[in-house]
């Protein structure tokens, strides 16, 4: 995956891909992303679509729902990670999918947001993950 250099991070905003079958959820999450000054470059409604979009857009961060038709979030994430181990994913899930979330985290998801979420709290989590990206990049 191509790395942003410091100059770029200073000027261009982080690029997000949101993968969720619910319009409401996507819209809601887009708001959060915009709130922190990042941009949503793409949206997908299924895991399969999410994978396609990912390799087309190469976003900085993927926000992925665990439960979706056609392909579950977990599987989609695994597929993405297979080809790009540096991919960064935040898993979104409603209650009751804790085991899936745990698996996702073990497989390399960066963090999780449980639905329903408080936008400010979600923003905090996203920023926390972004901060890690920044430190990793500046170290490299």
């Amino acid at each position: 995956m191509e790395m942003r250099n410091k100059e770029e991070t200073a000027v261009s905003p982080y690029r997000f891909l949101i993968v969720d079958d619910s319009v409401f959820a996507r819209k809601n999450m887009s708001k959060v992303v915009e709130m922190i000054g990042a941009v949503v470059v793409g949206e997908a409604t299924t895991g399969k679509e999410g994978i396609e979009q990912y390799f087309k857009l190469k976003p900085d961060l993927v926000i992925m729902d665990v439960s979706m038709p056609e392909m579950e979030g977990l599987e989609a994430m695994a597929k993405i990670k297979e080809r790009d181990n540096d991919a960064r994913v935040i898993i979104v899930s409603s209650m009751g999918y804790q085991e899936l979330v745990k698996k996702a985290l073990i497989l390399g998801a960066k963090h999780f947001i449980s639905k329903p979420f408080d936008p400010a709290k979600a923003a905090e989590i996203i920023q926390f993950v972004l901060k890690e990206i920044k430190t990793v990049n500046s170290e490299q």
Binding site: S93, M95, Q98, V101, K102, L105, I106, H111, F112, I113, S114, D118, K121, A122, E124, I125, Q127, F128
Partner: protein
């Protein structure tokens, strides 16, 4: 400590163990009160709660061992309370402070009762109060919360974990104990635990995590305990522990070598010191000695000083009788050798007797808080010089008088919030306690920024109460009138006080202070406040003094009060308003003839010149006419308990080497008397 009843201990051993327990318990309760008071408005409540819990924990174990079951139960319940506060099921507010203070009171009551062999008071009432408190805060109290907060992490290490710990110590890494609270909106704790486990490596080397992050237990706890070794600073580790969406709060402490937790907190130095003191109670190098034993040594030193002056006396007689004797110089050498060693010994014993005045001052945050609350005023206490070391005798008895002065200051000095605002003052009144050394004196000041004392009102009141006649009153200036508050029967507030437990007037304060050969002076300014200045000699047992004759009598004045010694012509003594005065450079000072004042028979009235010792109490100067100066001597003071010396101008007595008795004068009393306040009760 095991259960005492199970051990074959001698009566003596049990007694001494109990005494140790009582002493430590009193200290622990004092720290408890201190920590509790500092909870309000503290930024680092977490570590303070830890300290408080540790105090309860120690008391619980010790009191169970000593057989005080009720106390042990009470402390156990108190631990539960702190637990609930830590788990945030009870909000930390003023009510918690109140109940903790009440628990502290109840515990000291129980300890006092047990010490004096009385029945233990009903701690059950306090237990009930704690239950009510839980009910009131709507927590549905769970008596056993051990499932939520297990044994402190550092006490439950396996052998392997201990090995790890000591290895990391050898590598000079910091060992931290961290408690991570799950954030309230973290609905997936075990998923959160996965994230925590992924972050742990950046903190350092993990020695122990409880409960294990991959266990199902995680779901049912509120906190995760961590024991980590890290090269990072505490705050950096703390910051790294903050994982949004998972962790809500983090408490972190450094685990020190001795196994005790030293609370490392940079923002609150006092708490660190308080905890350090608790920790310092045990290490080697310190021994506890009953104060009686030290007093006994001090008495013996006093006797030795008397003994040495006997030798000195003999030496001079010997010299007179056998002026050519060669042994004299060796005798003199031996004498001076003893003298040097004795003064070293005296200094060392004195040092043993010295304690920081903090012992007294630390009661005051509580006193001021309670008094301010009771009188509905907003008062802040400021303490300076709490490290000042003072004689133990002073520490033992000065507390009550100081409390009385502080109570007066809050009751009468500090205005109500409304009054203060109306006069443009800060809402919050200030009471300042300060101690410092000045020359050979210890000075303790109690300041308030209240309304000050109005001498006119005092004069009216004194007249009203018939303590003084109108014409006598007219001779008294405003400055001297302030001292009226020390008159017996002046204080109207004879209400039994909640704090000291008995009604005392300012006259008692004065009596106590003078009993310690101290003095008390008042500085007051209308609208600006009042300062009580208490002054005591550095040591209460041995003083340097000037010896002289007044009439036939041998008297002494503490050297610390002597300003200068001068010789004046009798014709230079002037009369002002029927009193003898001396013109000393710019000022005019009263002259006292002790031989007359004390009916000692006048010996040298007709001389043309006389010696005058100018003495000062820091406020006023007077001259004391003497017949003959006899030099300077170290005196070991014996209190005069018998009231055959029916005057307060004598502060004590001492025996000289030749067996003569010398009376030591109380300079402050003489000055006050000479300054013209002639009142029947004075």
């Amino acid at each position: 400590m095991e259960d005492l009843s199970q051990l074959q201990l001698s009566e003596e051993d049990i007694k001494s163990l109990k005494e140790t327990f009582y002493q430590q318990a009193v200290e622990l309760i004092e720290s408890l009160v201190q920590e509790t008071l500092s909870l309000e408005g503290s930024k680092d409540i977490g570590s303070k709660l830890k300290t408080i819990k540790r105090i309860f924990h120690t008391l619980k174990g010790d009191s169970a061992s000593i057989g005080l079951k009720e106390l042990s139960h009470l402390t156990h319940r108190a631990e539960d309370l702190i637990q609930a506060v830590e788990n945030k099921s009870v909000d930390m507010d003023g009510d918690v402070t109140d109940i903790l203070l009440r628990i502290a009171d109840c515990m000291s009551g129980a300890i006092d009762a047990s010490r004096t062999g009385k029945e233990t008071p009903i701690t059950a009432v306090m237990m009930g109060a704690i239950d009510d408190f839980f009910k009131a805060s709507g927590t549905g109290f769970q008596p056993v919360m051990t499932g939520k907060m297990p044994v402190p992490l550092e006490h439950s290490l396996s052998e392997y974990e201990k090995l790890l710990l000591s290895d990391f110590r050898r590598q000079e890494k910091n060992i931290y104990i961290a408690t991570l609270w799950f954030s309230k909106d973290c609905q997936m704790k075990s998923a959160g635990a996965v994230i925590i486990s992924q972050h742990l490596p950046c903190l350092g080397d993990v020695i122990k995590v409880h409960p294990p992050l991959d266990s199902s237990e995680v779901e049912s706890v509120d906190t995760i305990g961590l024991l980590i070794a890290s090269a990072m600073a505490r705050d950096d580790v703390k910051n790294l522990c903050n994982i949004p969406g998972v962790i809500g709060d983090v408490a972190i402490e450094e685990l020190r070598e001795e196994g005790g937790l030293a609370v490392v907190s940079n923002d609150i130095a006092e708490s660190t010191r308080a905890s350090a003191k608790i920790a310092a109670a045990s290490p080697t190098g310190t021994i506890r000695v009953e104060s009686e034993k030290v007093d006994q040594i001090m008495n013996l030193v006093g006797e030795l000083i008397v003994g040495r002056s006997m030798i000195e006396q003999l030496l001079s007689e010997f010299e007179e009788r056998f002026p050519r004797e060669e042994l004299i110089s060796r005798f003199a050498y031996a004498n001076s050798f003893i003298e040097r060693s004795l003064s070293d010994l005296q200094r060392s014993v004195m040092k043993v007797r010295m304690l920081p005045i903090d012992r007294v001052f630390k009661r005051f945050p509580r006193v001021v808080r309670d008094l301010a609350k009771a009188s509905n005023k907003d008062v802040r206490l400021v303490i300076h010089g709490e490290d000042t070391e003072v004689d133990k005798g002073l520490v033992d008895v000065i507390g009550e008088p100081l409390i009385h002065i502080v109570r007066n200051a809050i009751d009468h000095g500090i205005e109500t919030v409304e009054e203060r605002e109306a006069s443009g003052k800060d809402r919050q009144g200030i009471i300042a306690l300060e101690a410092y050394h000045q020359g050979n004196d210890i000075v303790i000041e109690v300041r308030d920024d209240g309304r000050g004392i109005d001498p006119k009102r005092l004069k009216e009141k004194v007249l009203e109460k018939g303590l003084i006649s109108q014409e006598e009153l007219e001779k008294i200036d405003d400055k001297a009138a302030i001292d009226f508050i020390f008159l017996p029967g002046f204080s109207t507030a004879k209400v039994v006080s909640e704090v000291s437990g008995r009604g005392v007037g300012m006259d008692v304060v004065k009596a106590v202070v003078e009993g310690l050969r101290g003095s008390v002076n008042i500085k007051t300014e209308a609208g600006r406040g009042t300062t009580f200045v208490l002054r005591f000699p550095l040591t209460l047992a041995i003083i340097k003094a000037i010896l002289f004759n007044a009439g036939e009598r041998l008297l002494a004045i503490p050297l610390g009060s002597v300003k200068e010694i001068t010789r004046v012509f009798t014709k230079d003594v002037e009369l002002v308003a029927g009193r003898e005065v001396l013109r000393m450079r710019e000022s005019v000072i009263p002259l006292v003839r002790l031989d007359e004042a004390m009916n000692l028979g006048s010996a040298g009235r007709k001389r043309s010149k006389l010696f005058v010792i100018i003495v000062s109490n820091g406020d006023r100067d007077i001259g004391i006419a003497v017949n003959k100066l006899l030099g300077e001597e170290e005196l070991f003071i014996k209190a005069i308990n018998d009231r055959w010396v029916s005057t307060n101008i004598v502060g004590g007595a001492s025996i000289l080497g030749d067996g003569k008795v010398v009376l030591i004068l109380n300079v402050d009393a003489i000055i006050k008397k000479a300054s013209g306040v002639k009142i029947s009760n004075f």
